[in-house]
């Protein structure tokens, strides 16, 4: 189908979709890979920092250990404040060009993109995870300690599973934000969806049509991701139905009971 300046809006949309769909697809792919990897790595950083920052210290802790803990805590706090307090688009410029200039390391734009999104997400997730951990009822810690669990056993078996369940909505939020915010990585030339859209639009001087399609592609990605994470949340909550094994009269019977929500 041929189009010219007099073609209608729909003709242009159809034309662009026909000719540029591989571009959109590749852009969407890069966006998804960077944001997914960045969110997962960021989440891991967040859990690590959240766990470190909630290590209990009391008067029985060795003084040297307490000083070390304070130093680590301070460094982590600096990391969180710097990366939460500056725009990702600026971080992208500083890191991409800074690494090249200071250490002479020339990162690929793709690797730089993943790196930037990861540490940016990590700074946010660190505080979210810490909030998730300290919101868990003190009784859960006490009960675990009372049966002889150490702090790390308590964390990995009891507290973190509950904290992670509670912060899943925040994680899904962070993922959605990352899908959208990877668009700023076009400043360092990452070929994500926004970057690809820009070239498609520039080739034809059709900004509205192209970016409307881009809009839809972003929306489809974010919507799908929120649905998937919501489904995961529900699965973690377990069924609202549980089974009683056996009964007084028929021991092999299984009775389904609807649990209280």
């Amino acid at each position: 189908m041929a189009v010219d300046a007099d073609s209608s809006f729909f003709q242009w949309v159809v034309y662009i979709l026909q000719h540029y769909w591989p571009l959109f697809l590749r852009g969407a792919e890069v966006t998804l890979i960077i944001s997914l990897t960045g969110t997962i790595i960021g989440f891991a950083i967040g859990i690590l920092i959240g766990v470190i920052r909630t290590i209990p210290m009391d008067q029985n802790t060795h003084p040297l250990k307490r000083i070390l803990f304070k130093i680590i805590n301070f460094l982590l706090l600096c990391y969180i404040e710097v990366f939460r307090g500056t725009p990702m688009i600026v971080q992208a410029m500083v890191i991409f060009y800074g690494v090249a200039m200071i250490w002479g390391i020339h990162l690929s734009t793709f690797a730089a993109g993943i790196f930037i999104v990861s540490i940016n997400t990590g700074a946010y997730m660190a505080e979210i995870v810490r909030g998730g951990i300290i919101s868990i009822d003190k009784g859960q810690f006490e009960a675990a300690h009372a049966i002889g669990m150490t702090h790390s056993q308590t964390m990995s078996n009891i507290v973190l599973p509950q904290a992670i369940r509670n912060i899943l909505p925040a994680l899904s939020n962070e993922f959605v934000i990352n899908i959208k915010d990877t668009s700023v990585l076009n400043v360092i030339g990452v070929t994500e969806l926004f970057f690809q859209s820009k070239s498609a639009a520039g080739n034809n001087y059709r900004y509205f049509e192209v970016f409307l399609i881009t809009c839809l592609v972003y929306l489809i990605m974010t919507f799908t991701v929120t649905r998937i994470l919501r489904y995961w949340e529900k699965r973690l909550d377990g069924p609202s139905v549980y089974t009683i094994h056996g009964s007084q009269t028929v021991p092999e019977a299984e009775i389904k009971i609807v649990g209280r929500e």
Partner: protein, 245 residues
């Protein structure tokens, strides 16, 4: 009778507030001791000190003659020997009823999954909760939760079981089922330390009743003496107030 725990000159401050003042007492194997007293008398703090959930400010806790407040004995090992049942149940919310009773055995006692399950089932049956092994804590009632919490503590096969007001957070109609389980345990010869407001239970089941007031043990005697002719005026006033209600 063999002494399991002996407390010497135990003192606990919360800030400048002296909650426990020079507490001395001991518990022998198979004994059921009820600790009674008004709110704020220090009875829960005493129990929590015994499990090291609160660290005493000074004094000694001797476990089979060994002071556990010295650094050479691991807190975790000692705690596994002292079961604890909480007022608020504190079942692990992310685990099923069965997993609540096996996680400690697997992680702390390093038992196999199979052995843990067998032990857990034995105690869940004892408290009448064997049919609910797959339920999650939010799916069962308060009385059921507390019975699971007792089974969880028993699954660790502790030397003594500490109960911190186990029925205070329960609806009245559920108190009975928990007390029944506890009575059976007491009769089976388990060493128990129970902080409670259930005077009938204390009179019925305890070998000894300890009355605390203002952070000190005022009276420590048999239930008959404490309830029928207490020696101390404060005990008399407290019991009169409680039993007249």
């Amino acid at each position: 009778m063999e002494t399991i725990i002996e407390i010497r000159h135990l003192q606990k401050f919360f800030g400048k507030n002296e909650v426990l003042k020079d507490i001395n007492f001991s518990v022998s194997r198979g004994e059921v001791v009820c600790i009674i007293g008004a709110s704020g008398s220090g009875k829960s703090t005493l129990l929590r000190c015994l499990n090291l959930l609160e660290l005493p400010t000074s004094g000694e806790i001797l476990y089979h003659g060994q002071n556990i407040l010295e650094q050479n004995i691991s807190n975790a090992v000692y705690r596994a020997k002292m079961g604890m049942v909480f007022q608020q149940f504190n079942l692990f919310n992310n685990l099923s009823v069965l997993e609540n009773c096996t996680v400690g055995q697997i992680k702390v006692l390093k038992r196999s999954a199979e052995e843990s399950r067998k032990t857990a089932m034995e105690y869940l049956e004892l408290v009448g909760m064997a049919q609910f092994i797959n339920a999650r804590p939010h799916q069962i009632s308060g009385g059921q939760k507390q019975r699971v919490a007792i089974a969880r503590a028993l699954s660790m096969e502790p030397e003594a079981l500490l109960f911190d007001e186990p029925t205070s957070a329960l609806d009245p109609e559920m108190v009975g089922e928990v007390l029944k389980v506890m009575k059976n345990l007491a009769r089976s010869g388990l060493t128990m330390l129970v902080v409670t407001h259930e005077m009938a239970f204390a009179r019925d089941v305890a070998h000894r009743v300890v009355f605390m007031d203002g952070g000190v043990i005022v009276e420590d005697d048999t239930p008959d003496v404490i309830f029928d002719h207490p020696n101390n005026e404060r005990t008399r006033v407290f019991l009169k107030r409680i039993l007249d209600d």
